[in-house]
Subunit: 321 residues, 2 copies
């Protein structure tokens, strides 16, 4: 079973077919980064339409059982999520509303400070806010994954502590693979594992240290993470951006919060366009190669199966039911 | 079983208790009259909170089976609905979104012209609009009751024709009881019945012809409606406004569409405050008296049980499942 804990692609029929061909049982997709509540409803509508238009290819998943059913039916299970808290605006009740609409993952911040806490590109991180603590408690109550990928260090640590159920970093790597703010410190990884949380290692070029980094180097980093956290706390969250447009990249980076083009403090990402991906991972068709790489790096069959999907399944079972 | 097909009260714990004491198994409540999509989400939140806070008193009902369960548990089943299409704005996909959030009834217009058609107080009625036809088809597809109570005559007739499943007038009376635009012509009643639709007779003073009208007169009007439509096409939709504030009355009447106080063209309603109700019906505690009145007007036990709730149950089973 392959679960991709973050796939930010500009989905269409061809990408559903590609994910199915790659054996993907579940992909967590992004409906919002800067969108308001109203704008996000339109994104939910888009997915309602997809589920109606491609019933043989994809299905909505909102629970671990749904994921198992997707596996059985050979469909790509789609888990809806947000990479920011912008959809809930300043309104705690919207967490339940979006849960009713099928959302199962929400990231606390996206690079910048949000109403919940600080993002990974903020020079100062004030930690989880008063509203942030309310929202984490509500997400716990209702069964929504607290995602800490683009979140600042202090806010990340605060959220790990505040949450009464395990949290996740769905798509980041350890600092040792690439020491950039979007990746995570050993402190974070240790606290995350201690709280039974998950790390989804990302295949985004900039997060692995550039496209020249080899599959072997990536898998060795995962082996090191396994030593620190335990192999059962690891998964994959590719951060694939298939068919995404330059306009979407501008939206992700600059939203409405700046009129400049903002590329973040990162080096290799500070370019106007989408990056080239490494030749060993360009699409879901390459997941088999990643599994081979994990085995070559010393992971057992069982550990490899865990990292490729079963660890996420177990995590989702605990958090969203 | 008592089903109140429209109760517009300002609900709180005391009113849940009152409805329960009155034997109400299901009440259709109003979340929106002029509210936008975003504002309506806040109303859904309010009800989510009620369902969490009063689990012994009320339950969300979204199907006929839910209503039967409410009956069995002695709870007041709450069916969420809109008295206008303002929540869907200009966006067809919002019909499904609000269905996902539990909405099961939407009125096409509220007194004024809407994007779907003309209201009962418009001097000219252009009938169901292009968007209106799309929305009726979508409501049919998805299982949402098309409510035509505050709708203009031509738009009402168009919607009856356009809908492929039965529609309802949840809270109006026949013109013969009070000849005002908010009540319905014999033509409408005949077409409604021919399409297997339902008429919910209202107990709102202004709609029965004033508080001096007797229970006997009201029940004789229902007997006349039964001759025209069949007793199985009749139900009750009180339009109760328990604990509603003067500010809410202003909102209902004037929304944001006028800065004047608009009381509509109706006579007895053209007063600033909420009306006094007739002494024989002031709250859900008086439903028993209405049932007695129906029997006295010649309805059989079975017909009376139908009008008090079972006809609505059968209708909801067909329309929302």
């Amino acid at each position: 079973m392959i679960i991709d804990a973050l796939n930010c692609s500009n989905w269409d029929e061809s990408l559903f077919l590609e994910a199915q061909a790659g054996g993907v049982t579940c992909a967590h997709v992004t409906l919002a980064v800067w969108e308001t509540a109203r704008e996000t409803l339109h994104q939910v509508e888009k997915w309602n339409r997809f589920f109606r238009d491609y019933p043989e290819l994809i299905m909505r998943v909102t629970s671990a059982d749904d994921i198992r059913q997707a596996k059985q039916l050979g469909k790509v299970g789609i888990m809806l999520g947000f990479q920011n808290c912008s959809p809930i605006e300043d309104d705690l009740g919207l967490v339940e509303i979006f849960h009713q609409l099928g959302i199962r993952v929400m990231q606390i911040t996206y690079n910048n400070a949000s109403l919940l806490g600080s993002g990974c590109y903020e020079p100062n991180d004030g930690g989880l806010t008063r509203f942030g603590r309310e929202v984490v408690a509500e997400m716990n109550r209702i069964g929504m994954v607290v995602d800490l990928s683009h979140v600042g260090e202090r806010t990340t640590l605060d959220a790990i502590q505040a949450s009464e159920i395990p949290v996740a970093v769905t798509h980041s790597n350890p600092h040792w693979l690439s020491h950039i703010p979007r990746n995570k410190s050993e402190t974070v990884l240790r606290e995350l594992a201690a709280a039974d949380g998950m790390l989804g290692c990302s295949l985004y070029p900039f997060l692995i240290g550039g496209p020249q980094v080899t599959l072997q180097q990536f898998c060795e980093s995962m082996a090191r993470a396994a030593e620190l956290m335990g192999a059962e706390k690891l998964g994959i969250g590719t951060d694939l951006v298939r068919k995404c447009t330059p306009e979407y990249l501008d939206w992700l980076r600059s939203g409405r919060w700046t009129q400049a083009k903002s590329y973040g403090p990162a080096g290799p990402d500070a370019k106007p366009g989408w990056p080239e991906w490494q030749d060993w991972f360009k699409s879901p068709l390459d997941f088999g190669a990643v599994a081979d790489g994990l085995r070559a790096a010393g992971f057992s069959e069982q550990e490899t199966a865990g990292i490729m999907g079963e660890n996420w399944l177990r995590f989702f079972e605990k958090v969203i039911g």
